[in-house]
């Protein structure tokens, strides 16, 4: 079966974990990995796994895009260089999945709005944040039943799973996730809290989701909607699990979740990173299925996306 060829930009933890996920896919094939450090462990591992590599950044990849038929790229670099990477790749007709907090394209949570993005053939979609991927499906599962005035999420992350970039830029995480709770989750106001816990052995990622509904929550329908949504997420993140709840308290709905990773490249406790790579891979797969079926065709996009 024909597969859609992919490039991975960024040779850190996320990019390396993505190789494993994409290799398992029936519709995706990892072909290139792009780094900026020739000595990096990520590039060495990519070569071992049969990928072509360049240490010259995206510019090192561009001459090979057409000859190697690259159609989808994952950008796991940083918010600062993402826009430029994306413009260069879009100009060659490559669809870009953004795993940085740049968010220049529409926000994507696969079980909530991926189909809409694929139908519109968006050339850049953003994966928000690990906490966003883990919690927004639940906010949406409530808001599709009843109006949600306020959604608040608390993500507890193992210290070892948080890299220096996220640590030094926690406010960006807070802003991006809060706004996605509103835009994608459907809460009128969103708030995101992050806790970094250094316990040893490292704790699994935990997420608590609170929603305040306008009317008394319909317990049976909301519970059913949440369980159905959890099953959807489990299709690409098997370790996504309801620990407690939904707990109803007046207008408040509380849901207590846990995310165990698959343990591909990253350890199982790093469910936060796994849910990002799994959601990104799922997103690419849906685009790939649409391309392979001939329903959509990616077109070179010369005009840069407008920065919001």
């Amino acid at each position: 079966m024909k597969k859609i060829k992919c490039a991975l930009i960024g040779s850190g933890n996320i990019g390396t974990d993505l190789i494993y996920k994409i290799k398992r896919s029936e519709v995706l094939e990892p072909v290139w990995m792009v780094g900026i450090d020739a000595q990096s462990e990520g590039l060495a591992r990519a070569r071992e796994m049969g990928l072509k590599t360049t240490a010259d950044g995206v510019d090192g990849l561009l001459p090979h895009v057409l000859s190697d038929d690259i159609q989808i790229a994952f950008d796991a670099t940083s918010a600062y260089v993402h826009a430029e990477n994306s413009h260069k790749l879009n100009a060659l007709g490559v669809m870009v999945i953004d795993l940085t907090p740049a968010a220049i394209g529409p926000l994507c949570v696969p079980p909530v709005n991926l189909r809409d993005h694929a139908e519109k053939v968006e050339m850049n979609v953003n994966m928000i944040s690990c906490a966003g991927q883990a919690t927004i499906p639940i906010v949406f599962a409530v808001s599709r039943i009843q109006n949600v005035a306020y959604g608040e999420i608390i993500a507890s992350l193992a210290s070892k799973s948080i890299g220096p970039g996220t640590r030094a830029n926690l406010d960006e995480f807070t802003y991006t996730t809060s706004s996605a709770i509103e835009i994608v989750g459907g809460a009128r106001k969103g708030k995101a809290l992050a806790i970094i816990n250094p316990a040893e052995p490292p704790m699994l990622m935990r997420n608590t989701i609170y929603c305040l509904t306008d009317e008394e929550p319909d317990q049976a329908r909301i519970t059913a909607s949440i369980l159905e949504m959890i099953a959807e997420v489990q299709k690409y993140v098997p370790g996504y699990r309801l620990v407690n709840g939904p707990l109803f308290d007046g207008m408040k709905v509380a849901v207590f979740m846990e995310v165990a990773g698959l343990g591909d490249y990253l350890p199982r406790y790093a469910g936060n990173l796994d849910i990002m790579t799994a959601a990104a891979a799922r997103t690419a797969e849906m685009f790939a299925e649409e391309i392979l079926s001939g329903r959509v065709q990616l077109k070179a996009q010369l005009k840069p996306l407008e920065l919001a």
């Binding site: 306020y150 030094a168 926690l170 816990n197 407690n244 709840g245 707990l247």
Partner: protein, 354 residues
């Protein structure tokens, strides 16, 4: 004045009152603006130089996780700051909860000092916020919470990181009220050795093991020059180091705080104690916090969860300690209580069988 026979005679210490921030926890975040103004002006009149004013969890604290106060931080600050003659107002900012936007807003309302707080191993989540506070010209503290969970050498390195971001004072924060004087001394000494001489060291205690005063004095002995305390101990758990008692001990030892002891005593008796919803003291639950090393703010949340799910408060707190939950993980209190209730047959799990 009584006999001044200690080695610390003449040492100057800046006391920082916590009634209107840590004390918010003891009031379940429900303090009125009038109460805040009354307390702040009394502290100002008694010569307390620094007063912290915010939601108990600081900037961004208004939340389902931490409770909603009746007013925003901006409303409290705007009411309190103009009433003060000498005291400066500070705020608390925990990265991951509060943001630089909120810090700017607090500054615009007159806050001039900030505790930028991280868990004792996660100092590198604070560079943006510390740098931003310095840019605003604020008196900037790096506040290492749950400090008993890190050894002296590593804790000192965390403090050094915060100093490198621009923090002018590094606090050892005994959030669980777990430390004994020797624990405090070894940590202050390690920080003193590693930090620049002009960087101040502070200690924030909780009285869960009855050690608030002793620990604060131990910190001063090793070179700390700032002490957090609150009048009548109004704060989370068994409360903070009781400020009026601390000032009395300092007076006896010749340590200079610049505070009026009798005014603080009167304030404790006439203002603070009457507004307590429960007696803030060492009791079965708050002692458990100190003994098991659990974040003091968890106390009232655990009591609520106990009432709802029928698992004793002490059992919940001990389990939270065993699971190594840290400040900010208040959601895990209900979660833990529910898991324990299921194990004890008090609660049924939700299943997808329908």
């Amino acid at each position: 004045m009584m006999d001044q026979l200690s080695d610390l005679t003449g040492r100057k210490v800046i006391v920082h009152d916590m009634c209107l921030r840590d004390g918010m926890h003891a009031k379940r975040e429900q303090m009125s603006i009038a109460q805040m103004v009354t307390i702040a002006t009394a502290l100002d009149d008694a010569g307390v130089p620094l007063i912290q004013v915010t939601h108990g969890a600081g900037m961004g604290g208004n939340s389902l996780q931490h409770g909603f106060a009746p007013h925003s931080n901006e409303e409290y600050l705007s009411a309190v700051v103009p009433k003060l003659k000498q005291a400066k107002v500070s705020v608390l900012l925990i990265p991951g909860l509060g943001t630089m936007r909120e810090l700017q807003s607090a500054y615009d309302c007159g806050a001039r000092s900030v505790h930028v707080a991280t868990h004792c191993t996660e100092a590198d989540t604070s560079p943006q916020h510390i740098a931003y506070a310095r840019k605003l010209g604020m008196d900037t503290t790096g506040f290492l919470m749950m400090a008993h969970l890190n050894n002296p050498e590593e804790l000192a390195k965390q403090g050094k990181l915060m100093e490198s971001y621009g923090a002018q004072t590094i606090y050892i924060t005994d959030s669980a009220g777990y430390m004994l004087p020797a624990d405090v001394k070894s940590r202050v000494a390690a920080l003193r050795e590693l930090l620049k001489t002009e960087t101040e060291i502070g200690f924030h205690g909780h009285h869960n093991m009855g050690m608030g005063i002793a620990n604060s004095i131990a910190a001063i002995e090793e070179g700390a020059s700032r002490i957090d305390a609150s009048v009548a101990g109004l704060g989370a758990g068994a409360g903070n180091t009781p400020l009026e008692v601390f000032v009395a001990v300092c007076a006896r030892m010749g340590i200079e705080t610049g505070c009026d002891l009798f005014k603080l005593m009167d304030m404790a008796e006439d203002i603070i104690v009457p507004l307590m919803d429960h007696m803030v003291r060492v009791d079965r639950a708050s002692l458990t916090l100190g003994y098991a090393g659990v974040y003091s703010t968890f106390l009232l949340h655990a009591k609520n969860a106990s009432l709802r799910f029928g698992v004793p408060t002490r059992d919940i707190l001990v389990e939270l300690g065993r699971r190594k939950m840290i400040g900010g993980q208040e959601d895990m209190i209900v979660d833990t209580a529910m898991t324990m209730a299921k194990e004890r047959g008090l609660l049924k799990a939700v299943t997808a069988s329908s």
